[in-house]
């Protein structure tokens, strides 16, 4: 499979009153063409910052301090804002969490959908209108010509998110980044939007990088999953492996905290404690204060990524020993 995006050892830091603090600490991953990578983790674990680093849209006090981001062979971290601008909305697009606020309230849908076409294509006025209508029907909006003339406040949340997707697709991106695209939507609409994104991914052959904290969404759309905790990738693997054979205690915790309606005896397990602050100094593994399996070693040395299988890795000392199955069902069961 063709690699679209290749991120290596990405470190993104923020200048704060306490000095420069890393929010993303050496993250590496790749996204292939036609594949959906889901990044999961608690709020504040660095997943959104990872996507904004790829887009080059970090807040003013944030910067990429280490690592590389190769997109279709081009190194993005070395590019100026003006050079990045040519990628944004063109071959890399992004959809955000809040469809209610992500569209500009004072411009019509038509204006906003044509904007990337104005910026990245040489289409004439008529062609742009035709393309806009085509995009709106592609995302399943009926009466696209009418929708073009509407303002965001005249549309429902689901319709707005469809418009957002249409905007993101305007220039046929190779990579679509979606930051919790369904979190703000009703459950029924969520499913529609996820199906839509999945279909479009297949039709257009895009790579999709989706940030979510909803394991249900992961199960629905992911090909591969990357679990992040406190700025680190703690586990990566194919979606089936992550769900069936989660390795990292944090991943297990995440899965155990998903309600299960089929199993009446199922008790929801919360992961004790909370995500450390950016400025909290934690030696060893950053998850050890919350980890039910923490050993002495975990408090001293940060674990490397251990290979579980071909595509499955876990950043946990428990996997240092080849055969360590006994621990697996010790706590979260």
């Amino acid at each position: 499979m063709e690699t679209l995006l290749d991120v290596n050892n990405l470190v993104t830091s923020f200048r704060t009153a306490d000095g420069k603090l890393p929010a993303v600490r050496g993250v590496s991953f790749s996204v292939n063409k036609g594949e959906t990578l889901c990044i999961v983790g608690e709020s504040g674990c660095g997943k959104s910052i990872t996507t904004l680093s790829v887009m080059g849209l970090l807040p003013d006090n944030g910067e990429i301090t280490e690592g590389s981001i190769y997109f279709q062979g081009e190194e993005l971290t070395k590019k100026s804002d003006d050079q990045m601008r040519k990628h944004r909305g063109n071959d890399i697009s992004m959809i955000f969490q809040e469809p209610m606020t992500a569209l500009n309230p004072v411009f019509t849908v038509g204006y906003q959908i044509k904007e990337p076409l104005n910026l990245h294509t040489k289409l004439g006025k008529k062609e742009k209108k035709i393309r806009a209508i085509e995009l709106l029907s592609q995302v399943g909006l009926s009466n696209p010509e009418k929708v073009l003339k509407k303002y965001p406040h005249e549309l429902s949340g689901g319709m707005r998110q469809r418009v957002m997707i249409a905007i993101a697709l305007a220039c046929n991106p190779s990579l679509l980044i979606a930051d919790e695209p369904t979190t703000a939507l009703d459950v029924t609409i969520q499913a529609q939007i996820l199906d839509l994104m999945d279909d479009l991914k297949d039709d257009l052959g895009m790579g999709v990088m989706m940030v979510t904290h909803d394991m249900g969404v992961v199960a629905e759309v992911a090909d591969r999953v990357m679990v992040m905790y406190a700025g680190h990738v703690v586990e990566t693997g194919k979606v089936e492996e992550i769900f069936k054979r989660p390795q990292h205690p944090y991943t297990k915790g995440l899965l155990a905290s998903v309600p299960n309606v089929d199993d009446e005896g199922h008790r929801l397990e919360a992961i004790p404690g909370s995500l450390p602050n950016l400025n909290e100094k934690i030696t060893g593994c950053r998850f050890h204060p919350r980890c039910p399996f923490a050993m002495d070693k975990c408090k001293v040395d940060a674990p490397p990524h251990f290979r579980i299988s071909d595509k499955h890795q876990s950043k946990c000392w428990l996997h240092e020993e080849v055969d360590s199955h006994e621990y697996q069902h010790k706590a979260y069961s």
Partner: protein
């Protein structure tokens, strides 16, 4: 939209009744007798009686008020106690100066305030932001009469670049512009400061909005994001402040007109109050109230053009 305009104009009628009543009563309740001022220090009691009778001041106050209102409804604002000039005419000769000054001050205020506020916001905590917010604070705090006097001292007396006062040449002539500069700056400074502060805070809120990030994610240039996507969203509170300030300025600016010897509505009003010239006071107050309501109506109409979410239908 037409509904809004009709409703506001209807409200204006009631408002003017209320205001005229309050002003009428308070003028008559306030100490001071127009007859003694008109008659002068040598007038005898019988002279004063004659003057009062002539002005209708001996009638019961409600009768006086109704007489006045009857005139106003017919478009007659009465005649000045002091010089018997028609009040409408005095206002008509004075108002152009005030309008001229108000517009010039607002132009100064908007041209300085809006860009200063926006640049402050997008370069938050930069030296520009710090100095512009400091200057804005000073601009709001400095009293008009002091600023006007200082400007006259520097630019008229010392440097002799600009006239000391007066505003009689048309504004499109060089002389007219020269006359306008100092009073417009004097008056515009406080408004500019208020507009700058409002633009800054409105812009700061808007540039953090999700749709700004969306625009950036589309590949829109940073400055286009600010001046196209953000500005229009930030304008609602700024337009409100501009409208309020303009409303005040149109009512005549008593102090600045006094400092620069400009024969505007503000001076007309203050002179009339001093002379207990009831019809002139009434007339100018009604003018101010009407203008204020109209400016606010215009602001509301502009809202609907800026923000499609605002609709009056």
């Amino acid at each position: 939209m037409l509904g809004l305009i009709g409703k506001r104009l209807l409200q204006l009628v009631f408002l003017l009744f209320g205001i005229s009543f309050l002003v009428f009563m308070s003028m008559h309740l306030a100490p001071g007798d127009p007859a003694t001022i008109i008659g002068g220090p040598t007038a005898t009691e019988s002279d004063l009686d004659a003057i009062r009778a002539e002005l209708g001041l001996n009638n019961p106050i409600l009768v006086q008020y109704l007489d006045y209102i009857r005139g106003v409804v017919q478009g007659d604002l009465g005649y000045s106690f002091q010089n018997n000039q028609s009040v409408s005419e005095s206002i008509a000769t004075r108002f152009p100066q005030t309008l001229n000054l108000a517009i010039a001050s607002m132009v100064v205020a908007v041209l300085i305030g809006v860009p200063a506020g926006i640049i402050s916001a997008i370069k938050q905590n930069s030296w520009f932001d710090v100095s512009s917010t400091t200057i804005a604070l000073a601009g709001i705090s400095i009293p008009n009469f002091w600023l006007g006097a200082m400007l006259i001292l520097i630019f008229s007396v010392e440097l002799q670049w600009l006239p000391v006062g007066g505003l009689n040449a048309p504004f499109w002539t060089i002389e007219g512009m020269k006359q306008l500069i100092l009073p417009a700056i004097t008056l515009g400074t406080a408004s500019a400061a208020m507009i700058a502060r409002m633009s800054r805070s409105a812009m700061l809120e808007v540039i953090r909005a999700d749709y700004i990030r969306t625009a950036r994610a589309k590949g829109v240039r940073k400055n286009v994001v600010v001046w196209v996507h953000a500005l229009r969203n930030a304008m609602i509170p700024v337009i409100t402040v501009i409208g309020l300030n303009f409303g005040f300025l149109l009512g005549g600016t008593i102090i600045t007109e006094q400092v620069f010897a400009i024969n505007g509505v503000g001076r007309l009003m203050i002179d009339a109050i001093a002379a207990r010239d009831f019809p002139v006071v009434q007339g100018t107050v009604l003018l101010v109230a009407t203008l204020f309501v109209i400016v606010n109506l215009l602001v509301d109409i502009i809202y609907a053009f800026i923000d499609p979410r605002i609709s009056y239908d």
